[in-house]
Amino acid sequence: MNIINRLAILCATLSIVAPAVAFDFGALQSQVQQHQQELQQAQRKIEEEQQRIRLQQQQLHQEPTQLIQQLPVSPAAIGVIKDVAGPTQTEEIALGRQIAGNLLGAAALVNDAPLQRYVNKVGRWVANQSERPDLPWHFGVIDSTDLNAFAMPGGYIFVTKGLYKLLQNESELAGVLGHEIGHVIRKHHLKILQQSKLLAAGSQTLTQQVGNNEAVQKVIGSGAEIMSRALDKGAEFEADSISVVLVTRAGYDAYGLPSVLQLIDHSANDENAVALLFKTHPLPEERLDKLSQSMGERFDRIQGETLAQRFYRLK
């Protein structure tokens, strides 16, 4: 009795629901068509908006010198704008190039073309792993017994022969270059120049890429003096942390830079060869401690190459 009752209720329910569903389909179809039309309209609007944004972006990316011709804005105002927005990449490279030329005036390249090419290949491979792979990266070993390395804006990087001779394998070289690449990609020295307010003053002539650019020289001060100024400690720790990440991305052993720091740590504080390095950087022990904190357990299961065999050794 119970079962028959339930069946009867079920049949009755089905007979009511069925036509209702059929009716709903018709209404739904017209609703879907309406929504489709609305969607198409919205898509057209989005495309129009995207086109408008693209045009705006193109205008924004034009060099300020071009803007001067288009807009009634005074060069002084452009200087103020640049002070806030920072120099363009072209200017950044022009600045770095001038500092590099000066540094090479103080210490020339080691006369060993295969060495210089090797260092460029290692450096470029590490730089490829950064967010600025398109900079015209240049690397060199300079003839100095000091233990030091230098990074200039725009991607000019130099390692002293003294430091190079301490290195045991390619991953250590990659680690040292990775630290300097870190300074370049985070524009650490460029920020110093910006702080000094010199950049805005000379900004209009920075784009000329000629030999010895006097306007650029005005911005960077005397010779390669900017390279003897200390960055804040935070910038050095940041560059260390970037180094271990970039070399890991490049397939190397992550501990190239920490190994070099351990080695430098053995050298006395007042040793001549490390005088400038220790003046401009936190002590290796402090850097190792910071690295240890930020690396934590993240590298425990990461294997990488040290490449001692391929390493180009200096006689």
Partner: protein, 165 residues
Amino acid sequence: MFKLKISLTVLCYLLISGALASEFGVALKVDDIRAQPFGDAKSLGKLTLNEKVTILNRQGGWLQIKRTKNTGWVRMLSIRSGNVAKKSNPANGLLSLASGRAGTGKIVATTGIRGLSEEELRSATFNLQQLTLVESYGVSATQAQQFASEAPLRARQFDYLPVPK
């Protein structure tokens, strides 16, 4: 013959252990000593601050160390390697530089007089010939990729690290 083999083995062992025994390290922090070079391997105890240990081996970021109680693995950055006391006598600069390093025992010293002082940097003058030369050594991203694949080095993803507090 058998005896000779054994004595040779013993001799080798003595030679190796003798060579490695010269590599010491000092614990920079109280850190776990692990049975294997992994963060989640069994803990065999803890280093005590400034504890002197013997470095036997290195693998990635880990050092195999020997101490009075046992042998195990610790994080490389928890150990300062080397035998010579730091910042001793200024005249010891080059000597302490030659004190060796974790896992290599390599002795390196620099000689010569050519430094790069602040004054030299300040008075440096532009050298276009050298700048052109260094620019001529530049390689493209593709050339670097080719160089990497010869090793072989393979690019992989790895996130930037958070800033420690």
